[in-house]
């Protein structure tokens, strides 16, 4: 009798017990983990692994800044502050217009490595 894997929270509550039950029904640990993940993120892509990771990997380092958007947003806001980036400054989402302050400082390391100290 297959136990319904249920929602994420239920899985957390039952913890060890659920795992034991699953082992008895020969669900591999990997499948159990997959179920946990799908419970937390139901919209996760159908393709296992797949192109999403690869595209993200290929686009590493891409930094977009549109001076048109930036200036229009500034004009619209007038005196108000532009919405600034959240804690993760590298993530640009929604209405947020990247500002020069948000871009991480790109300074070369002029300091000698501490390994050589």
């Amino acid at each position: 009798m297959a136990a319904p894997l249920g929602t994420g929270t239920r899985a957390e509550e039952n913890g060890q017990e659920k795992q034991d039950m699953q082992e008895k029904e020969t669900v591999t640990p990997e499948r159990a983990e997959e179920a946990k993940l799908k419970a937390k993120y139901p919209n996760l892509g159908q393709k296992p692994g797949g192109s999403d990771f690869l595209m993200k990997r290929l686009q590493k380092g891409q930094k977009y800044f549109d001076s048109g958007d930036y200036n229009m947003a500034k004009a619209k806001m007038k005196n108000k502050q532009l919405p600034s980036a959240g804690p993760d400054k590298n993530l640009v989402t929604g209405d947020h217009i990247p500002t020069p302050q948000d871009l991480p400082q790109r300074k070369s390391s002029l300091v000698t490595s501490k390994l050589a100290g």
């Binding site: 591999t28 499948r31 192109s51 070369s108 000698t112 490595s113 501490k114």
Partner: protein, 453 residues
Amino acid sequence: MAGVAGGGGGGGSNDFQWCFSQVKGAIDEDVAEADIISTVEFNYSGDLLATGDKGGRVVIFQREQENKSRPHSRGEYNVYSTFQSHEPEFDYLKSLEIEEKINKIRWLPQQNAAHFLLSTNDKTIKLWKISERDKRAEGYNLKDEDGRLRDPFRITALRVPILKPMDLMVEASPRRIFANAHTYHINSISVNSDHETYLSADDLRINLWHLEITDRSFNIVDIKPANMEELTEVITAAEFHPHHCNVFVYSSSKGTIRLCDMRSSALCDRHSKFFEEPEDPSSRSFFSEIISSISDVKFSHSGRYMMTRDYLSVKVWDLNMENRPVETYQVHEYLRSKLCSLYENDCIFDKFECCWNGSDSAIMTGSYNNFFRMFDRNTRRDITLEASRESSKPRAILKPRKVCTGGKRKKDEISVDSLDFNKKILHTAWHPMENIIAVAATNNLYIFQDKIN
């Protein structure tokens, strides 16, 4: 307690033990991103040990000559040279930020008094010459000792400059810059056994270079699909065969390895051999492909075998057998039941490297919590050791570590949930001939040696 034997000609000894030798780097709790070590590599003789970091810097250590007055200490590694190899760049045309992080360092075999190495970041490979200067000329005719030009009318006699000894100065200079050949991010470089060419591999292409020529390179593998939406796999690592200059391998994100022969065609899109372990379709999950992605591939010194590292295991392949590896070693199988959280914190994408010892009898790879693992291929024994400041007394023997997976935790064991996933050992190197290993633990470099009896 018996450890994993390695190295030398003599084969495994049962009394083998690893001892702490040295640790380099700061003890700060706050690690600056630039100080994170990103590559470690011994040269062909093992006398030089190079490290690269995220700040684009290279530090080279040299082994000291053994000191007769201190017979118990084998040669120690001390700083020989340090230089800034790569700087951060911004490609304005593509809005692409190019990190200065050194992805790989590969030494060239030594051909004269100077040492040469290749270092690469995501886009540019550089050939560096490291040379020593221990003499300087004195007694020039046209300038004073302090460099000021002498008044030519005051010169009444000619002298021949003489060479005088000076304090050793080690200079590093960039001799070649191999740029603009990679659209995607370079993950590997490999010097060919012909000592004239080398390959560089990015996510979708592999290029062949001549060490003397920087304005041209040949594309030898191109797996970019015509339609990027059909992209299903990328190249993760590549290496030349140690003896056959026409053979190289490359690994993929799908857990496969292709061996190519450059004699068969100019463009090696069609492989000569295809290595893949059959998968049990019933055990397939969302994570299967991600954890099968190969993060490193290394030929054995003999050239008969190659080793691949995927997320949970290390596999040894016989080049003559394509349908499955001849040996499989579990690095941290207990993580299989943690894949969900490892996916959420991105650790599942960590790229661990692996290495052989000089005689190919043992292999080593890193794990989490500053643990690293060694496997003896002959005895099938494995050991888990830790790179930590706590066990950093000179010649202190490293105690084997154990991760407990079940309910009852024995004393000295550590439970899976207590592992620190921020302390990852991704880069390790084994001296080409002796039992000396270098282990990079974030911003610290540990050097361990076998116990001298």
